[in-house]
């Protein structure tokens, strides 16, 4: 009936004269213009904290954490017999260090980082244009620390990157900053702004959960200094000593402690009461989907076991080979983070089988990866430490980016590097103890002992690449791969697409 009225009105208007209208263009209800966004405190909060949702893409298979992990010995993605995971060789290129500037995952990781940095810069310019209060000052500091985290990821993976810190800059003409300049910028930002952030951990102040607080900023500072020599080309122990101070600060004042069980840090309910996680990406299968690692790693036929139905079944891709899995002692409780051996249906009794031409074979995950191109369906052990909620492809477990156990192992590493092995062992002790393992002895202790312990403690958490670089083992021989001919792959290439969009960028050496 509404339409009838409209017609009548239309007819009347024609009779009377022209209907002319100078009405301004009203914004859509779903989106408001930048000007309107600044006028609501509540809305502003949703923008500042909403920036953290960008982190939900960080564990995607074409984002930074896994792409960097795939270049190491921790994560194998072999092509499978029958053509699955062939994908034009992109996974093998990462394993073999033959990646080029056109690699899609390397470009995806870059875009993810700069899209987030762009959002932060826009939001910063919005807040900076408002009347300044203590709340706006806090938001500005917090956003700058979050931006620093993304520059940390960029500088450790790509080295020399464009430094965009304001919407006034022209991203199509900005030139590349040297890694050492990026390093200095990030350090300075973290020092200035980290101190302004809350010193309460989420168990004291729940509102800090899933956000960067002061200890998150200090954790990043520790990481930066730990890797100073790799990033800037400096030598000596100055960086390690600087890192040490930030580790001490977190250990003494942060109020964090190890969880009793290693797997607690990856449970599907780890968003409350966890004392170990310093900075996490909160995930939820409905509200914040994004953690799907198990889909990458489990076998197709495990779909029924986890109630994924059929097309929802996992893809049988990511795995770890015998060399890496061999680092875990049989008694190490962290080994429970891996799936190996015969796999059963939901009833726990009926063995699952493989498919394809050997469809009668029992599904028995083995650590051996027989080929980089035509591995069997059951080659490689599978990751399961992030707790699954059956029935959902996206998981509820939160992804811990910064953990307190890392602070302890960083401290142990610094002490080892500076010659105090006895004290170093006091920092490895709680980590070893929790894993059900005896602590190391000074006699059988070397720097690489720490590296191996880190491999067990942080498998697939995104640290392996920079750890191998820091310990000087990134280019080492590993299964199917010889020693790297040169060091150019220690930095990712600047993606071709980024160079096309901004020809003023400089490609890293060797690409």
């Amino acid at each position: 009936m509404k339409k009838k009225n409209l017609l009548i009105i239309a007819a009347l208007l024609v009779g009377v004269g022209f209907y002319s209208c100078k009405k301004a263009l009203n914004p859509t209800v779903a989106s408001v213009t930048k000007d309107a966004a600044g006028n609501s405190t509540r809305y502003l909060q949703s923008i500042v904290l909403g920036t953290y949702t960008q982190l939900q893409g960080l564990t995607a298979n074409n984002a930074m954490l896994l792409t960097s992990e795939e270049t190491t010995d921790a994560l194998s993605v072999p092509g499978r017999i029958g053509g699955d995971w062939a994908d034009g060789g992109i996974w093998q290129q990462l394993w073999l260090h033959t990646y080029t500037a056109s690699h899609g995952n390397i470009s995806g990781a870059w875009d993810n980082a700069y899209n987030t940095i762009g959002s932060i810069n826009v939001t910063l310019s919005l807040i900076q244009g408002l009347p300044q209060t203590s709340a706006t000052a806090y938001s500005i500091a917090e956003l700058k620390v979050l931006r620093a985290y993304f520059y940390y990821l960029l500088v450790t993976n790509y080295g020399n990157v464009p430094l965009l810190t304001s919407t006034a800059q022209d991203a199509t003409t900005v030139t590349t900053s040297k890694a050492s300049d990026v390093f200095n910028f990030v350090v300075s930002e973290l020092k200035t702004n980290g101190a302004l952030l809350s010193a309460s951990n989420p168990n004291v102040d729940a509102s800090q959960y899933g956000r960067l607080n002061r200890w998150g900023a200090y954790f990043l500072l520790a990481k930066l200094y730990m890797n100073q020599n790799v990033i800037t080309g400096s030598t000596g122990n100055a960086g390690f000593l600087a890192a040490s101070a930030y580790c001490d600060s977190i250990i003494q004042k942060g109020g964090y402690q190890l969880q009793g069980n290693f797997l607690d840090n990856f449970s599907s309910t780890n968003n409350s009461g966890n004392t170990e996680n310093i900075f996490v990406i909160p995930y939820d299968h409905i509200y914040a989907p994004g953690l799907q690692l198990q889909m990458m790693t489990f076998h197709y036929n495990q779909a029924g076991k986890y109630n994924w139905g059929s097309t929802g079944g996992p893809w049988n891709g990511f795995c770890a080979n015998a060399d890496y899995f061999g680092k875990f002692a049989a008694t190490d409780t962290r080994r429970a983070g891996w799936q190996f051996g015969i796999q059963y249906a939901a009833d726990g009794v009926t063995p699952l089988t493989t498919r394809g031409s050997d469809s009668s074979l029992v599904l028995n995950f083995r650590p051996q990866v027989s080929s980089l191109y035509t591995a069997t369906e059951y080659d490689g052990v599978r990751q399961q430490k992030w707790q699954l909620v059956p029935g959902y492809q996206s998981q509820d477990a939160d992804f811990a980016l910064f953990r307190f156990s890392d602070v302890l192992l960083m401290k142990a590493e610094i002490l080892t590097r500076t010659g105090d092995i006895a004290t170093a062992l006091t920092y490895t002790a709680p980590v070893r103890q929790r894993a059900g393992q005896p602590n190391f002895t000074a006699a059988a202790f070397a720097l690489d002992t720490i590296l191996n312990e880190r491999a067990r403690e942080f498998a697939w958490e995104g640290w392996r690449r920079e750890d191998l670089l820091r310990f000087g083992h990134f280019g080492d021989k590993k299964q199917f791969k010889a020693v790297d001919a040169d060091t150019h792959t220690q930095l990712f290439p600047i993606p071709t697409e980024a160079l096309q969009k901004n020809p003023h960028l400089t490609q890293n050496a060797g690409y």
């Binding site: 499978r80 062939a86 022209d170 909160p282």
Partner: protein, 1021 residues
């Protein structure tokens, strides 16, 4: 037919004068004059005794009675619009059928804000009348236009009855700006073409270039299609009842290995027989033809009734139309119901003409998930749809890309209801002779409700009795959500209002004629959308009816938006004609729209064209075999703003798709952030068209044709550029106008009346379009930033192990047409049956490799390992022939394309024998002998040239003796989409011409149907 009525009336008047004198009578001759084509009686026909002045005219029923001198042996029968005829007296009553004369030149074409005689038309305008429409199943008006007009290419993505055809007039002229033509239905510009019932259409007029379309300015770049609906005719009320019923079945289905073939191929490939068992990778003892299970013979029926009539002061026509189309996939289908009322009335001493059109329609669509077609291909025939351990349940099929397509087809609920209302009021007031003021207003309102229900789970029973025992998401549609069912319900509505007025002048000055038109128009477009998602239902059987029983509805599940835009325009036209020989026409439109960037909100769209009727010159008088010869040419600029949204130019903050965790509240809450870069320079695309043409009629109009040569350059081409993020841009794309695209080609059409006499007529017609599309540039400067794109990946293929760069085969490439593919070169099979591909060295030499990971997939021209291939046709054509013999009528209509190619994804994926044991394999796969895994290469680029027998019809008109009630009764049998002549191996060589999938024959296409129909046309008087 309007004109014919006018003529009838005027001849009646003439008859009054002619009928007065009569000489002494010797013989009385009686008879009846009818239209040779449809058998309808013709009133007012002049009947004169040859060699005398004795004559009369036929009465309202076409009958005449005349006394003639005994010496008279012949009568001359003549009527305007018909070929005169001499008829010998037989002594008895005469039945005289008159043939339609070559009246095409006197046809009236509806053009923007007016009409023009075809004879006077100067632009590239084609009319397709209801006489030309094919009989049989027509559920979308555009089907009536398909193949009928050269340069108007109409394709459907697939056979889904709910898919709207894609229309491309003279090629694809835009990448991101939209290519749809502007539909003008009875003067309502921008109307939904589906708001008009096919049976209500009197004619289409297609304006192909700027010279005709410029009066529609910024909305005309995709061409303009003007639809005129039928109106009532003065005289007795006529009731037309039309109905057809049709059966539909798949014209072609993919041919996969049956059980016997599958097991034999398995044995041949692995050297042992396929293990039997109950898992989805073992031989379950079944022989399932998945495509057969998913399809059916559908039933379509249509009924429409129209009532029309009027006086010399007013006309009316009312119609109701209902169509129910089942579709060939189970659980799919569509119903349309239309009501229409057209009315016009003269008033104020005939100075005022009031015209009203009102129409309402509703479409109910049942959709299926087209993923079923992929699954039907992917699942081997040796698997059963049912659980081998529990035949009462559908089984899981656990292989990566597959799901069981049968429950997927049957249990997904996905339907839509579209309501549309259009009202149109127009007044034409004659202020002074030749001067008419015409205010008008119209409004279109539509709502679209969508209901989607993904049922939970898994253990679906084939009897459909119970959906309990849910243990997972069977389909994985929205698997991150619940396993108790998910509902997505939405409603969107729009209201478009138009108010305007024109002032028109028609004058004659000696040998000159001058027509002028000026007008103003205001358009207001408003829309709003709402959607809600809900999950975890207590009652999983009727969730759409009980959203309140959902246990989970989050803020993320609720969304709404609303907005609008305005368009204000001034326009004008001048037509000058000297001696009906020399013509000059100019159109201009000024548009202002607030959709565009603040710096570019207005534009002027002009056109000018000229024509010379050579055949009217004195020096052509003696060339009698040429009845018409006209040269015409024009140039103009039209705009395109189709896909620009109301707020595209603005910097926007909006809700983000994911929520953030608020630790204080302990829950996830809505997050907001910047979502769109500002573009104050955003403007419409412009298309500059040049057209030169020749129209000819030979042998007294028996052979007619036109040749149009054209060029259309799209400037300010819209393209979503990826821009570096981090500072100025925070979203990685910006829609900017810096590119350029061209379409060049010619349209040629020819119609020949081979035989034309009272018993037998035979017409033959054909048209051809040659179009060359080219992306000239995608680079330029936007607001000081250099945007530089030389190629961009837009389309992908897919399959097992095919992702990333190797799947990215659809490209936009500067210098190439839209629909270009980038593919590795196939080098044959090695001794082990592995596919080999050419790898090129820097010096141009090549070696065959079996592993595609050794190929360089860079797309920047740095390697030869992949090469560009174009897919678009060298030409498209349509052919038709109609034949009438006494009461019989026959017609055949075919259309086709030549020189086109398509990437056959189905053959790429399912010829690999390595898939045996897990996947379906094509029946002819063994002849390929491919033992390695599937990889995209130019091997799968196949010719998609085709010739489709689109329609064959045969009809019979019952000879009805003078009858009080029945005027006409016609029966017909008709077949649509009967057969396709092609060498293409895929489902259908007719691939979509739209979007990133251009040239890629994906696996998720609904098969097209062959339709056999029986229909009745009944006219009551």
């Amino acid at each position: 037919m309007h004109l014919k009525n006018l003529l009838k009336v005027s001849c009646l008047i003439l008859a009054l004068f002619l009928a007065i004198p009569a000489m002494a009578q010797n013989t009385v001759v009686t008879g009846k004059v009818t239209d040779a084509k449809d058998g309808s009686s013709i009133p007012g026909v002049s009947v004169v005794a040859k060699g005398t002045t004795v004559g009369t005219v036929t009465d309202i029923n076409g009958n005449f009675k005349l006394s003639v001198p005994a010496s008279v042996k012949t009568l001359t029968v003549s009527f305007v619009g018909y070929t005169s005829k001499d008829v010998a007296l037989t002594g008895g009553p005469l039945n005289i059928a008159l043939e339609t004369a070559n009246t095409s030149l006197n046809e009236v074409l509806v053009v923007g804000y007016g009409t023009v005689r075809k004879k006077d038309a100067t632009g590239a305008v084609v009319k397709v009348s209801s006489d030309d429409f094919v009989q049989g199943v027509t559920t979308n008006p555009l089907q009536q236009l398909q193949g009928q007009a050269s340069g108007v290419v109409i394709t459907t993505t697939d056979g889904d009855p709910n898919n709207s055809p894609v229309v491309r007039i003279r090629g694809t002229a835009s990448i991101s700006g939209g290519n749809d033509p502007l539909y003008v239905i009875d003067g309502v510009a921008g109307a939904d073409i589906r708001s008009v019932a096919p049976a209500d259409i009197e004619s289409f007029v297609v304006e192909k270039d700027a010279s005709a379309a410029a009066i529609y300015g910024s909305r005309a770049a995709g061409g303009v299609i003007l639809v005129t609906t039928k109106t009532g005719k003065a005289g007795k009320t006529q009731v037309a009842v039309n109905s057809y019923v049709a059966s539909e079945s798949a014209e072609r289905l993919p041919d996969f290995m049956n059980r016997t073939q599958y097991l034999a191929a398995y044995q041949g490939f692995y050297g042992h027989s396929m293990p039997t068992g109950t898992t989805s990778t073992s031989d379950q003892g079944a022989n399932t033809d998945w495509f057969k299970l998913l399809t059916r013979t559908g039933l379509t029926h249509n009924e429409n009734i129209a009532l029309g009539g009027g006086t010399d002061k007013s006309h009316y026509r009312a119609s109701v139309n209902y169509t129910n189309q089942q579709g060939i996939a189970n659980n799919s289908g569509r119903q349309d119901i239309y009501g229409r009322f057209n009315f016009d009335q003269k008033a104020l001493d005939d100075k005022l003409l009031i015209t009203v059109n009102a129409t309402g329609s509703q479409s109910n669509s049942n959709y299926i998930d087209n993923g079923i077609w992929l699954n039907a291909a992917a699942v081997p025939s040796v698997l059963s749809p049912f659980d081998p351990n529990n035949p009462g349940l559908y089984q899981f099929i656990n292989n990566t890309q597959e799901t069981n397509p049968v429950p997927q087809e049957l249990y997904l609920v996905d339907n839509g209801v579209q309501d549309r209302l259009i009202g149109n009021l127009r007044l034409d007031y004659t202020i002074a002779p030749g001067l008419t003021f015409s205010p008008y207003a119209n409004a279109a309102h539509g709502t679209n409700v969508t209901n989607i229900y993904y049922p939970p789970a898994t253990a679906l029973r084939p009897d459909g009795q119970s959906l309990i025992n849910a243990v997972g998401d069977q389909f994985g549609f929205v698997s991150q959500l619940s396993n108790h069912g998910d509902v997505d319900k939405g409603e969107s509505d729009y209201t478009n209002e138009t108010y305007g007025a024109t002032l028109a002048y028609k004058g004659t000055f000696g040998k000159s004629k001058l027509n002028l038109l000026g007008g103003y128009e205001f358009n207001n477009f408003l829309y709003s959308n709402f959607r809600v998602g809900a999950h975890d239902f207590n009652d999983i059987n009727i969730p759409l009816e009980s959203l309140g029983s959902a246990n989970s509805i989050s803020t993320k599940d609720i969304g709404s938006d609303a907005g609008g835009s305005e368009l204000k325009s001034w326009f004008g036209r001048a037509e000058y004609n000297l001696s009906d020989k020399y013509y000059l026409t100019a159109n201009v439109r000024y548009d202002w729209s607030n959709k565009l960037g603040i710096n570019n909100q207005s534009g002027v769209f002009p056109s000018i064209d000229a024509a010379w009727v050579v055949s009217s010159e004195d020096f052509m008088k003696d060339v009698t075999w040429i009845s018409n010869l006209k040269l015409r040419g024009g140039y103009g600029i039209i705009g395109n703003q189709g896909n620009i949204g109301g707020y595209t130019s603005q910097n926007l903050f909006g809700p983000l798709s994911n929520l953030y965790y608020n630790g204080s509240l302990g829950q996830f809450v809505s997050a907001s952030g910047p979502v769109q870069n500002a573009n104050p320079d955003l403007r419409w695309e412009t298309k500059a068209t040049t057209n030169v043409a020749i129209d000819f009629g030979l042998f007294n109009g028996r052979l007619n044709g036109s040749l149009d040569i054209y060029s259309a350059i799209t400037n300010h081409l819209l393209y979503p550029y990826t821009v570096p993020t981090g500072s100025t841009f925070f979203v990685a794309t910006i829609l900017a106008n810096v590119g350029k695209l061209s379409n060049k080609g010619f349209d040629f059409s020819l119609n020949y009346k081979i035989i034309s006499n009272s018993d037998l007529t035979w017409n033959l017609g054909g048209n051809i379009n040659v179009n060359r599309n080219k992306i000239v540039s995608l680079s330029g400067n936007y607001d000081g930033f250099a945007l530089n794109v030389t190629q961009a990946n837009v389309g992908s293929t897919s399959g097992l192990g095919i992702s990333g760069a190797i799947s990215q085969i659809g490209y936009l490439k500067v210098g190439y047409p839209i629909g270009t593919l980038l593919l590795p070169g196939y080098a044959g099979l090695d001794a082990n049956g592995n596919q080999e591909f050419w790898k090129y060295a820097a010096d141009g030499s090549r070696t065959a490799v079996t592993d595609v990971s050794q190929l360089n997939y860079a797309d920047d021209g740095s390697t030869q390992d992949r090469k560009f291939y174009t897919t678009d046709p060298k030409f498209t054509y349509g052919l038709q022939s109609s034949l009438t013999y006494k009461q019989w009528d026959f017609s055949i209509f075919a259309r086709g394309q030549y020189g086109s190619h398509g990437f056959n994804e189905t053959y790429m994926d399912y010829t690999s024998l390595a898939k045996l044991g897990t996947y379906g394999v094509l029946a002819d796969a063994t002849s390929y002998g491919i033992k390695s895994s599937s990889e995209p290469s130019n091997y799968w680029l196949q010719s998609t040239a085709f010739l489709k027998i689109q329609n064959i019809s045969a009809g019979y008109s019952l000879k009805i003796a003078d009858n009080k009630y029945i005027d006409k009764l016609h029966f017909y049998l008709s077949g649509n989409n009967l057969y396709t002549f092609t060498s293409y191996k895929g489902l259908d060589p007719e691939l979509t011409t739209a979007g990133g999938e251009t040239g890629i024959d994906v696996r998720t296409l609904y098969p097209r149907a062959r339709q056999l129909s029986f229909g009745v046309n009944l006219t009551l008087k």
